[in-house]
């Protein structure tokens, strides 16, 4: 592995999604785009908020805050971080609304703990913090699982309240 490749592999973009600070491998990041217009239309893919148009491409926007459990108002979105995501055999660009400053950091990613969700590819030590490194491909699956658990919990609560009557 060349020095350049090694440096690229150990480079991460640190970003804020809502009130969470996470990292993304820099090699996946295509662009940090200004807050261009979000186009929304009816659909049933819950994690998607709409699409943006960048450089002649239509890019889906993921609401990563839904998965990370960190909500923020759309007015606080300052940028769209556009990254590559692998869907089956196809690589597709996807955008995440981020707020706050984005920084570049280098370091060695450590494997995630066993109980970490699928959207965590590993952890990165930055100063005294340990940040989750996002696995974009795991976001959708994590949302489905989280939504399933939430429904299960709601159903459990419902049955509990029904039983207590």
């Amino acid at each position: 592995m060349s020095i350049a490749e090694n440096a690229r592999e150990n480079s991460f973009v640190l970003l804020h999604i809502g009130d969470r600070r996470v990292a993304l491998p820099a090699g996946l990041v295509a662009e940090l785009a200004p807050p261009v217009r979000l186009h929304a239309f009816p659909h049933t893919s819950k994690l998607i908020t709409g699409v943006i148009v960048r450089r002649g491409r239509i890019v889906p926007v993921y609401d990563a805050g839904l998965v990370l459990g960190s909500r923020s108002s759309s007015s606080s979105h300052r940028f769209y971080l556009i990254a590559r995501r692998q869907i089956g055999q196809v690589s597709e660009l996807g955008a995440i609304a981020v707020n706050g400053e984005c920084e570049l950091a280098t370091g060695e990613m450590q494997p995630p703990a066993m109980d970490r969700p699928a959207y965590v590819a590993g952890t990165l030590a930055v100063g005294e913090d340990s940040l989750d490194v996002l696995n974009l491909d795991g976001l959708t699956g994590s949302y489905s699982a989280a939504a399933g658990e939430s429904l299960h919990a709601e159903a459990h609560q419902f049955h509990g309240s029904e039983a207590s009557r």
């Binding site: 186009h39 239309f41 659909h43 049933t44 889906p60 597709e92």
Partner: protein, 177 residues
Amino acid sequence: MKSTGEQDAKSRRARGPQTVVLFFVANQMFAIAADYVQEIRSTDSLAGAANEIENPELAKVRHTLERGHRTYYVVNAGMHFGLPVTRPALVLILRQFRAALLVDRIDRMAEISGVYPLPLAFAGDERRWYRGLAYLDDSVIPVVEPTGFLTPEEFQRLDRASALAASQREPEAAVQA
């Protein structure tokens, strides 16, 4: 360097210019290829020609239209797309498909340079609803897929219910005669 997948996605983008009808449902703009639209009528003008389905098989289909000895099923576009309830004023009667579409209003006809494929991140019913997306006047507009309004199974259910309702009406008509 771009991956093969990305290059494929970009090459699939445009299928050439085409004329579309832009219409609104619950303040959301959609496009449909003009070739797929046979006729546009006001709901008022169809008041006498439409038959209400007494026990709707599908909530989004409550009326039928008889056109050229064929039964067209009238789909409420708002309910189909899960949009807020509105009062549709127009019916788009489709060509090639026995379906008509209740919409709020027509905006205009326009020429689009092509249809972008729906990003793969969209993995739900919208893959059946839309042929893709169009970029027109700084807006991204979903281009509807006419076959997506009713699946073959839904057509079969509606046809069975329609035949049953017709057979029930015949004895009633004979008694009245």
